[in-house]
């Protein structure tokens, strides 16, 4: 702890790094206390920046239309005047928000399932099997993740139009693979490469085939990595806006993010209370995922990216 405070500069507000002074000898205790106080002040500021906007949309979502129209100030300031769920009720009854939520769930879970299967097979092959050009394939997979999304929109729009697949949520699953496959393949390949080979060899000697070994030996010990790839894939697929905007047309086909943006466009007066109620609803599953799996998400985002 003492080392840490010497070597790491203090931070304020997560914005600028202010170096801690190097002179400690004299009033060491007092300086350290001051440092601690400033540090925790910085932590509080960061927490406020990260979380206060969520409070603000929650607050706005708990107003009804009449209260919302009055604006902030007066009766409703930092706290809403009354707590009412009418915005949430309007979203689900008048704006039929359940349909886009289900569409998003289907597409995100579908993308996750396809990603896990395809990325596990490829990851195993790249980690363990004697293929030629494995490095080139891996490079291609990673580069694909950087391909400009808008450069995909035009040609895929024409393709889906010719195949009669516009305004259909299922082609989105294939499209979203560009978000999920590069990271997942890379993650799983790195994880599989670390598993001791003896584990598989025992099964192979016993006469199991490669695929049986993958299913019964490799995947079971790789559950943490598969889980990480799954969570990240779900988040990435759940978050898409550009493809849904370009390929979907009728409200019954919208994904949740698209539906919320359209809520805002379709009215003379933008009722942010209704929009924010929907925003709160689609944020909740993501917030829960982050709270229960933050360690995995962090390790998944960084695993491998800094090796080599």
């Amino acid at each position: 702890m003492a080392d840490a405070s010497v070597t790491k500069p203090l931070t304020t507000g997560g914005r600028a790094a202010v170096p801690a002074t190097g002179r400690w000898r004299g009033s060491r205790g007092r300086r350290r206390l001051l440092g601690q106080v400033l540090f925790y002040l910085g932590v509080v500021v960061v927490l406020l920046i990260a979380l206060f906007p969520f409070y603000w949309i929650l607050r706005t979502s708990l107003e009804n239309n009449a209260e919302f129209v009055q604006g902030v100030g007066g009766a409703n300031g930092f706290l809403p005047a009354h707590l009412t769920l009418s915005s949430y009720i309007d979203d689900f009854t008048q704006l039929h928000f359940l349909t886009p939520l289900l569409n998003s769930a289907i597409v995100a879970l579908g993308t996750t399932a396809v990603t896990i299967v395809v990325a596990s097979l490829a990851g195993y092959s790249l980690a363990r099997l004697p293929i030629r050009g494995g490095g080139a394939i891996l490079t291609f997979v990673l580069l694909a993740g950087f391909f400009p999304v808008l450069a995909m929109v035009g040609p895929l729009f024409l393709l889906y139009r010719d195949l009669g697949l516009l305004d259909n949520i299922y082609p989105l699953i294939i499209t979203y693979l560009v978000y999920t496959l590069p990271l997942s393949t890379w993650l799983l390949r790195n994880f599989f490469a670390q598993i001791p080979k003896e584990l598989e060899e025992a099964a192979l000697v016993d006469g199991a085939s490669r695929l049986q070994t993958l299913r019964k030996v490799v995947i079971p010990v790789s559950i943490p990595a598969v889980f990480t790839a799954g969570i990240l894939s779900f988040i990435l697929a759940w978050n898409d806006f550009a493809f849904a905007l370009s390929f979907l047309d009728s409200p019954s086909k919208f994904t949740a993010p698209l539906a919320i943006v359209v809520f805002g466009q379709s009215q003379f007066q933008t009722f942010y209370n209704r929009i924010d109620a929907a925003v709160v609803v689609i944020t909740i599953p993501i917030a829960i995922l982050v709270l229960i799996a933050q360690r995995r998400i962090v390790s998944g985002l960084t695993a491998g990216s800094l090796k080599g």
Binding site: G22, G71, G135, A144, I282, T283, I286, V298, T302, G308
Partner: protein, 310 residues
């Protein structure tokens, strides 16, 4: 980029009893084929199709017209119509400003998260949530925050009797860019910070110990050791973030719609308009090809500048 691909055990296993190496190799290709085919379908195919379209006259609103070869006409349109150079300049300016500000903020956040203190896990989860929520959420959330009627920003400026409490942020060019930058930073600083944190954790503690014994100040050891040792992590974060910022679309579409006027139109926004508003897939294809080419130049430039000196 190529550097981090050089990892151990890309080769295969030694042949085991009953399993021939040749069969393993064939299986290997079969298992890797789906990923390659799927990614080629969603990236390689669009790239080729855009390239073809960019040399042809492909306008859907004009269905009878033949899709004839027009040479470089679509690319000439990029140079002559003022919208493309203007959007390019705007996009590059946004990219530079957002990446520099966000990286500095992220470095501070990473140093904070690197320190062992009570509540670190909670802080890490709290900052991860803005990263994990959809861009639609961050864009609409900050649209609400900056709204003159129901927003927090104008309300607080009013409470504190500060100027600007009647600002309609998204109606002015510079105020709109400010709101976009804030929303973008709020979502993306945590991502850079997490990558930099992983980089910090790879730096062995005894390096600092040695520097301290040699009498280095905290600032010196940060400047001379932390930053250089953080270089690989910084490179990874910069490649991801710079390209994302260059290709910014969602937040622009949702918060400003390119407005007021066309003052916040970025290249991706222009490309979207070409495809889905003008349905000019030849001109749109030319924009897409330039997006790909400029992305490659940017990524290559970052790798060249940030590559560890050996």
């Amino acid at each position: 980029m190529a550097r981090r691909l050089r990892l151990p055990s890309l080769g295969g296993t030694p042949p085991s009893a009953g399993v021939s190496r040749k069969a393993d190799r064939r299986l290997g290709y079969a298992l890797v084929a789906p990923v390659v085919i799927l990614l080629l379908a969603v990236t390689g195919y669009p790239l080729a199709y855009n390239l073809w379209n960019s040399f042809h006259n492909v306008i859907l609103s004009n269905p009878g017209a033949p899709q004839n070869f027009v040479g470089l006409q679509n690319y000439q349109q990029l140079a002559t119509a003022s919208e493309f150079p203007a959007a390019l300049a705007r996009t590059l300016a946004f990219m530079l400003v957002s990446v520099v500000l966000e990286t500095i903020a992220a470095l501070g956040l990473a140093l904070m998260l690197h320190r062992a203190f009570r509540g670190r896990g909670f802080l890490r989860a709290a900052v991860l949530i803005p990263w994990a929520v959809p861009t639609v959420v961050s864009a609409l959330l900050w649209t609400t925050m900056f709204d003159p009627r129901s927003g927090f920003v104008d309300y607080v400026l009013g409470l504190l009797h500060l100027p600007g409490s009647n600002t309609t942020w998204l109606a002015g060019e510079w105020t709109a860019w400010t709101a976009v930058l804030v929303a973008d930073a709020w979502k993306n600083v945590p991502f850079i910070a997490i990558i930099l944190l992983a980089g910090l954790q790879l730096i062995p503690g005894d390096v600092y110990e040695a520097a301290r014994i040699d009498g280095a100040s905290a600032w010196q050891s940060f400047r001379r050791m932390t930053l250089p040792l953080l270089r690989p992590a910084l490179m990874v974060a910069l490649i991801f973030r710079t390209l994302q910022a260059f290709l910014v679309f969602d937040i622009i579409y949702i918060m400003t719609g390119g407005g007021p006027g066309s003052t916040t139109e970025t290249l991706s926004y222009l490309n979207w308009q070409a495809f889905l508003v003008s349905t000019n897939f030849g001109y749109g294809g030319a924009i897409s090809i330039s997006l790909v080419v400029i992305s490659l130049i940017i990524a290559g430039g970052i790798v060249l500048v940030m590559r560890p000196k050996t």
